[in-house]
Amino acid sequence: MIGKKVIFRSRGLPLLLLAPQLLVILVFFFWPAGQAVYQAFHLADPFGQHFEYVGLDNFRRLFNSPEYYASLWATTVFSAGVAIVSLGSGLLLAAFVDHVRRGRAVYKSLIIWPYAVAPVLAGVLWLFLFHPIYGVVAFALARIGIGWNPLLNSNQAMALVVMAAAWKQVSYNFVFFLAGLQAIPRSVLEAAAIDGAGPLYRFRTIVLPLLTPTTFFLLVINLVYAFFDTFGIIHAVTHGGPGGATNILVYKVFADGFIGQDLGSSAAQSIVLMVIVVSLTVLQFRFLERKVHYG
C-alpha cells in the first residue's frame, strides 16, 4: 500500500494543528510524570512545606521491603487471573451470542451493561453480595456449609477481587470477540463443515487462529486494565487485605500516596510500575505477536 502524503508549504500550520494534542499530552502526561520523577527522589510532608532530597532512598526502601515483593506476586496472580477469567468468559459469551438467532440484541445489551459501572461501584456491588457478615451470597454459602470468609482467607479474597475486576471487563472483551467472530468469513466455515469438520474442530482450527489479532489486542488491554484501573475495586472490596494478600502494585501506589500521604514512596512505586508495564507490553509485542495471524 502506498502511504498518503500531504505536503504543507510552511512548518507553522502542521505545528498549529498538532498543538492542541501536544498540549494535552504535555499537561496531562509529561508534567505529572515529571513531578513523579522529582518526588521519587524526595521526602516530602503532605502539606508541601518541607522537601528533602533523599537520592535513591525511596527506591532502596522499596526493594528492601518484603511487603513490596509480596505485592509484586499478588499483582502477578491478580492480573493473570483477571486476564484469564475475563478473556475466557468474554470469548465464551461471544461464541454463544454469535450462534443465537432470536433476541441477540437483548443478550448483547445485557452483557455490555457492566462496562458502564464505575470500578468502585462494581466493587461495592460484589462486596454486598459476598461480605461474610452482611453478604447475601455469603449467607447462602454458609447455609450450604461452605466456610466463606474473604476477611481472613487470602485465597478467597483474591478470588473475590479477581471476579469483581474480571466481571467488569467481560463486556469489553465480549464486544471485541463478537466483532471478531462476525468478521470470520462464513464461506470458510461452511467449506470446513462440508469437508466433515465438527463444530469444536472448526472452532479450534479456524475460528481461534483467525481471532488471534483480537485476542492479542485484548490481552494487552486487559493486562493494562488489571495493572492500572482496578484500585477502585480493591479499595471497595478488600482494602488490600487480608494481610496485604490483595495489595496489588497500583493499589499500593494509591494507598501509600493518597491515603497515607507518603508521596515520595508512592512516586517511586509508580515509576517502577510504569517500567514494569512498558516492558511487559514490549515483550508481548516482540514474542507473542509473532503468533498472531492478521489474515
Binding site: 502539606f47 518541607h50 457478615i133 452482611y134 481472613l152 487480608p242 494481610g243
Partner: protein, 438 residues
C-alpha cells in the same frame, strides 16, 4: 427547548442577584469540613444553623467530606491549592502530623487573639491533655471525643445464663464458650482492632505502646507492643478465633456492628460513639460496661479516640474572629449537652457532664457514663496519658495487615507483632526524619 432557555436565563439572573446580595450584606463565610455523616452530621448542621442565625457577621458553611482519611486528604490537597477550609475535624490519633504541619493556627492562641474567654480549667483534663503541646498549649479543640467500651447482648446473656458483664479477659473467654454452647455463632468481636486491642489494652494494663512516653516526650519513637503483655493477649484472641470464641469482622467498625446487631456475636468492643448506630440496628436488649482487663491488674484509664477541630492558617485576619466565636459557641454547656446526648461522644466540659447527670441522663443511658468514668480513672501514668505518633494512617494500616496475618493463622502472634513493629518503626523513622530539622 424554550422552557430550558427560560430556565437558564432565570438561573443566570438568580446567580447575579445572589452575587449582588452577597456584595452588599456579605456575612463572612467560614468553611468547616468534617468526616461525620448520618445523624451526627445532621446535628453539626443543626448546631451550625443555630450559630448562623444567632448573629449576622459570619456564616459557617458545614461540609461532610467522607471518612477521616478522605477529609484530611481533601484538606491537604486544598491547602496546597490555597483553597483550604478554616476549620477541619481531624482524627485524634493523627494529631501529630497536623501539629507539626505548620498549616494550623493553635486554637488557644486563636481564641485569645480574638477575645474569646474560655475557661480551660472547666474542661475534662485527660481530653484536653491529648491535644496539648509538651509545654501545655492547646492546639486543637476536642470535639468528638470517645473511648471504647464493652457492649453486650443482654438477651443472649440471659439465654446463656450469664448475669453480669465480664470483668477480666479470662471471663470473656469463659463467657464466649458459654455463648457458643447456647447456640451463638461467635462469642466476641471488635471494631477498631488496633485502637482497642493494642492501644487501649496497653493503657488499661499500664504498659507502653511506644517509646518516649508513647510519643509525648519526643518524635524519635519506636513501637514497643511486641515486647509487652499485648503479645499474650493477641495470641489468646488468635486461639479463640479457632473455635469461634472470637470472630474477626474487618477493619474499622461496619463489620463488627453488623455482627453484633444481627445477633451473631453477643459481645463487642467498640467506641462509646457507636451508641446511636447500635440502638438503631439492634432488635434486642443491650448494655455496655467497662473494657475487660487482666485479672492481676487494677485497670488504668482508657485512651481517647475520635477527633478534634483544627483551625487552619492562612485566611484573612477578619475571618478568624468569626472562627473564634463559632468555636466558643460550640463549647458552651448547652451545646455540649446537646452534642453528648445526640451522638454518644463524651462531653468535653465538666459542667456539661454535671448537667447531663443532674438531668438523669445516665440513669437511662448508663453506658454513656461508663465511657466518661473509664476515661477519668485516677492514677494516670506516662503509659496512659496519651498516644502521639506520626504518620498514623500509614502505621495503623501496617499493624492491621499483620493482625490479619495472625487471625488468618499465617503467623504466630509474636511473629505478626514483630513484623508490625518492624514496619511501624520504619514509618515512624520516616516521620522523624521529615520533622527533625524543625
Amino acid at each position: 427547548m424554550i422552557a430550558r432557555r427560560t430556565l437558564l436565563a432565570a438561573a443566570g439572573a438568580a446567580t447575579l442577584a445572589l452575587g449582588v446580595a452577597q456584595a452588599s450584606a456579605a456575612p463572612r463565610e467560614i468553611n468547616f469540613w468534617y468526616p461525620l455523616g448520618g445523624a451526627i452530621g445532621d446535628l453539626i448542621v443543626k448546631m451550625t444553623n443555630d450559630f448562623n442565625s444567632s448573629q449576622s457577621d459570619y456564616k459557617v458553611v458545614p461540609q461532610f467530606k467522607g471518612s477521616y482519611d478522605e477529609t484530611f486528604n481533601a484538606a491537604v490537597a486544598a491547602y496546597r491549592a490555597k483553597k483550604h477550609p478554616h476549620l477541619l475535624v481531624g482524627i485524634g490519633a493523627g494529631s501529630l502530623n497536623l501539629m507539626l504541619s505548620g498549616a494550623i493556627y493553635p486554637v488557644e492562641d486563636l481564641l485569645k487573639d480574638h477575645g474569646q474567654k474560655v475557661d480551660w480549667a472547666s474542661f475534662v483534663q485527660p481530653v484536653l491533655d491529648y491535644y496539648r503541646t509538651p509545654d501545655g498549649k492547646l492546639l486543637s479543640l476536642p470535639f468528638n471525643s470517645s473511648t471504647p467500651i464493652f457492649w453486650y447482648n443482654k438477651d443472649a446473656f440471659d439465654k446463656a445464663g450469664l448475669t453480669e458483664p465480664p470483668k477480666t479477659w479470662d471471663d470473656v473467654g469463659t463467657y464466649a464458650a458459654k455463648l457458643r454452647q447456647a447456640g451463638f455463632d461467635c462469642g466476641y468481636t471488635t471494631a477498631w482492632q488496633v485502637w482497642v486491642n493494642i492501644d487501649n489494652y496497653s493503657f488499661l494494663q499500664n504498659v507502653p505502646v511506644a517509646s518516649q512516653d508513647n510519643g509525648m516526650a519526643g518524635i524519635e519513637t519506636e513501637f514497643l507492643f511486641n515486647k509487652t503483655r499485648v503479645v499474650q493477649h493477641i495470641a489468646r484472641l488468635q486461639e479463640w478465633g479457632k473455635d469461634g470464641r472470637f470472630l474477626y469482622t474487618g477493619r474499622t467498625w461496619q463489620g463488627a456492628h453488623g455482627a453484633f446487631a444481627s445477633g451473631k456475636c453477643a459481645m463487642m468492643t467498640e467506641s462509646s460513639a457507636g451508641h446511636a448506630g447500635i440502638k438503631q440496628a439492634a432488635k434486642f436488649n443491650f448494655a455496655a460496661s467497662y473494657l475487660p482487663h487482666e485479672k492481676d491488674v487494677t485497670p488504668k484509664n482508657s485512651l481517647i479516640g475520635g477527633g478534634s477541630i483544627w483551625a487552619m492558617a492562612g485566611h484573612p485576619k477578619e475571618d478568624y474572629a468569626g472562627v473564634a466565636a463559632y468555636l466558643s459557641f460550640l463549647t458552651s454547656t448547652d451545646r455540649q449537652v446537646e452534642w453528648h446526648k445526640g451522638t454518644g461522644y463524651i462531653p468535653i466540659t465538666k459542667a456539661a457532664y454535671e448537667k447531663a447527670k443532674a438531668e438523669g441522663y445516665y440513669k437511662e443511658n448508663p453506658h454513656q457514663e461508663v465511657a466518661i468514668l473509664q476515661l477519668m480513672r485516677e492514677g494516670s501514668t506516662s503509659n496512659t496519658k496519651a498516644l502521639r505518633l506520626g504518620n498514623y494512617v500509614q502505621y495503623v494500616a501496617a499493624i492491621e495487615d499483620e493482625l490479619e496475618n495472625i487471625w488468618g493463622d499465617k503467623k504466630t502472634a509474636q511473629q505478626g507483632l514483630d513484623d508490625a513493629v518492624r514496619r511501624g518503626n520504619e514509618i515512624l523513622a520516616r516521620f522523624a526524619q521529615q520533622n527533625r530539622k524543625r
